[in-house]
Amino acid sequence: MTNQTGLSGLVDRAALVTPPVVARRVRGLSERAIAWLFITPTMLLLLAINIFPLIWTIRLSFTNYRANRPNAAVLDVGLANYQSILTDPDVWAAMTVTARFVFWSILIQTMLGFTLAWLIDKKFRGHGLWTTLILLPMMLSPAVVGNFWTFLYQPQTGLFNYVVSAVTGAPASSFQMLAQVPLAPWAIVIVDTWMWTPYVMLICLAGLRSIPDYIYEAAEVDRASPWRQFWSITLPMALPFIMLAVLFRGIENFKMFDMVNLLTGGGPGSTTEVASITLKREAFEKWRTGYSSAFAIILFVTVFGLANIYVKALNRVKSR
């Protein structure tokens, strides 16, 4: 009641301070017109910062435009940029590097995330504290994570090499995670796994908590073993949630840039040159703006397609 009085008082005060000209104009408008009035600024902002750059990028992708030569003649090249990208073995190599990174990071994150969720779901003593501690890496900025893992991976002073040395017995300075060809991709997978496994765990935990207890009680009445309960109840019922986590991480890892750029910058050589790093090199080192716009559109369509599948999967989980 007090709240209602307070609210009506606030409305009265707002009506009093509204200039009469504005009040008269608003009073004459229909509800639909007022709705448009409120939505228009947001729509204009969205058009200016999202839709216009997208349309401009599509337009540039059919030209030979170079941003470092703004006064040079811009020629229409049709589909030549797309043709060039989709037949270039170097870009294809960058795509396979991306695929390997996406595959291994998602596989490890899903397995670890589901195991952690399964353990947390057991509700042991102090599980709340452990959940908070496990979630901490996810809350950090990728820039911060990239920087401090660069220090951790230092061969002379980094903690990571000393831990590996203590476990395996190999000298700490005998390997360089970020500078050796076989180790650099794994260095990125480790950091991404460290940061994003908690996210997969959260989604899997939601899936495990959605399974009703009476199903397990019925299984126990039927004398099903814990192993059988896991394979016949837990895993199938949590599977839509696991698929959701896989899809979301797949989209995020496909366009991963910040962490790779901070840790290896695509090196050594082009061992860790994922698609977004190639795109950056084409756009801001070689200044092939038209070409890189076409590349960006290819990546955008791929991510948009994956997002469609994600939304479809999400709707299926919601309807459960």
Partner: protein, 72 residues
């Protein structure tokens, strides 16, 4: 009265939209196209599959956008 007790479902108004062209199955076809396109883009085996990956994904995305407006 007996219908109420038996809990019969209310009749759904018949639609002239062909069953094969309904949203559910068509979205599934579009999803398969998108997934195939993404797999073709990321596979390391054949350059020709990589070349045609974008067209496949684009076809799937356009189809998904259109068929998501179809009736259920």
């Amino acid at each position: 009265m007996s219908e109420i007790i038996q809990g019969s479902t209310p009749e759904v108004a018949p639609t002239r939209w062909p069953r094969a062209l309904r949203r559910g199955p068509m979205e599934t076809v579009a999803t398969i196209l998108i997934a195939a396109g993404v797999l073709m883009l990321l596979q390391p085996f054949a350059l020709v599959l990589y070349t045609y990956s974008f067209v496949t994904t684009l076809a799937g995305v356009v189809m998904f956008t259109i068929v998501s407006k179809f009736p259920d």
